[in-house]
Symmetry: C2
Subunit: 245 residues, 2 copies
DNA sequence: GTTCATTATCTTACTTCGTACAATATCTAT
DNA sequence: ATAGATATTGTACGAAGTAAGATAATGAAC
């Protein structure tokens, strides 16, 4: 491990960015965890995808870099939602050793800026930086390093507020054409509560930016459902109108 | 200025906390700015109260320290609302020079975690750390260092969202006993729009946690207004009930 | 091909909340 | 007593959320 003889260095906190990438798999809200490659032990451990920021990198840029390294995606809406900087974050020596090993830096303390996204990944990429990634239900998280469990809990609370204020993020997540059921199930899983089918229909029709198509879902063992699409132009038109009042 | 010979040091970003302390003065939303003590020039310049975090200090603790240093207050609700870390924050050499002078550190880059509060200050304290502080209308800000103007703009947007979700913060700001007009004017100034007097009355009465007292405002050149008080217990009872649904 | 299970879609009634809007009451100063 | 100022109060409408029943379409089972 590379260290330095200058004891002053530990004065400076390190700054990292962690991404809480949420998705739905097997009807469950999941978070993308990456394998922590630890030469020392043979246990498989997981962590949030994240990294120390580069020397001249904006926080948002670091978040998009991490998103891309972990998933291959580029244009998913990412939201900064909180920074975590308790000195006790690095209380666990094992976590610090791992990070020093990975970063080749002497680590005294780390402040992390946490980002959040709702994203779909077709094939999980095995990136250069991270080991294999895995979608893990938030209800069944393994033990995680640092305060990653707290960060994930905060992200789950936050995405509900975000979705309330910016409904478009759910359409980045869904396919171009989707049924009312798909949209409703997505909401149900994110908010972890049941939504009345009929009222949801009415609500969706009243929005104005979710529009019918002529296509229907085929091959289902019941009445086929109509496909809808998200009208991005209309959405932004309505949103601008709101902001000018 | 104390520097170091180790060029590696510039690798590490510095981390600071800045506080956007909002208050109302002369019917205007104001932010508390502290004088930037700059030996070099004789201009008076202002900045947000803030400081580099101490070596083993939590972010929230740093924010409360800064609040206390700038105002003498201790228990005001403070909310972390965003971190700012663009490398261009330190594009202005003058700002960097000032900070290096003040901190006795070589500054390459600073990431700042911004906090927000609504607070009333009886007498502005002249702290050891800061020069004289001043309440400045957000509509008439002077030129500010770094990206402090952007931070303040974000804080003003944020406090409206915060107040929507946590109405209690406005009662920490008002006196124990307040009139409907005082409450309404506070809202009007924070949201920068007029609110119908009658509808506001009705709304306030429906809340349940704003209760009448028998006292009235005296010495006004018009009909005396009734004093109300904030029922903290009832507020938290209702809030807990909401969370369990 | 009739029935059944299942989901989709449409509808209606009720409640809650926000909003628009004007007259009367009370206090001080003169 | 009057003027000037602010406090207090009620009603009607429409929008949006909620609860709940009826009908439609489809594949599967028989």
């Amino acid at each position: 491990m590379q260290t330095t003889n200058n004891p002053k260095e530990t004065l400076y906190p390190h700054v990292s960015v962690d991404c809480v990438l949420l998705g739905i798999h097997d009807e469950q809200l999941c978070v993308l965890l990456t394998e922590r490659r630890d030469a020392g032990t043979d246990r498989t451990e997981y962590k949030l995808p994240g990294s120390l920021i580069y020397e001249t990198e904006d926080l948002d840029d670091a978040a998009y870099r991490i998103l891309n390294e972990a998933t291959g995606l580029k244009r998913v809406p990412l939201k900064q939602f909180r920074s975590f900087g308790s000195p006790r974050r690095t209380a666990n020596k094992e976590d610090v050793l791992w990070l020093e090993n990975a970063s080749k830096l002497k680590i005294g303390r780390i402040i992390t800026v946490a980002y959040l996204a709702l994203c779909k990944v077709k094939r999980l990429k095995i990136s250069d930086r991270y080991g294999p990634a895995q979608w893990t239900p938030i209800a069944r998280l393994p033990r995680l390093p640092f305060d990653h469990e707290e960060i994930i809990a905060a992200a789950v609370r936050e995405i509900r507020v975000w979705l309330d204020m910016e409904p478009s993020i759910v359409f980045d997540y869904l396919p171009q054409l989707f049924t009312v059921s798909q949209l409703r199930r997505t909401y149900e899983i994110i908010y972890n509560r049941n939504i009345d089918v009929r009222n949801f229909h009415k609500k969706m029709n009243s929005l104005g930016y979710v529009v019918q198509t002529d296509e229907t879902e085929q091959g289902m063992p019941h009445r086929s459902a109509r496909f809808y699409r998200f009208d991005k132009k209309e959405y932004h038109r309505m949103r601008n109108k709101l902001n000018t009042i």
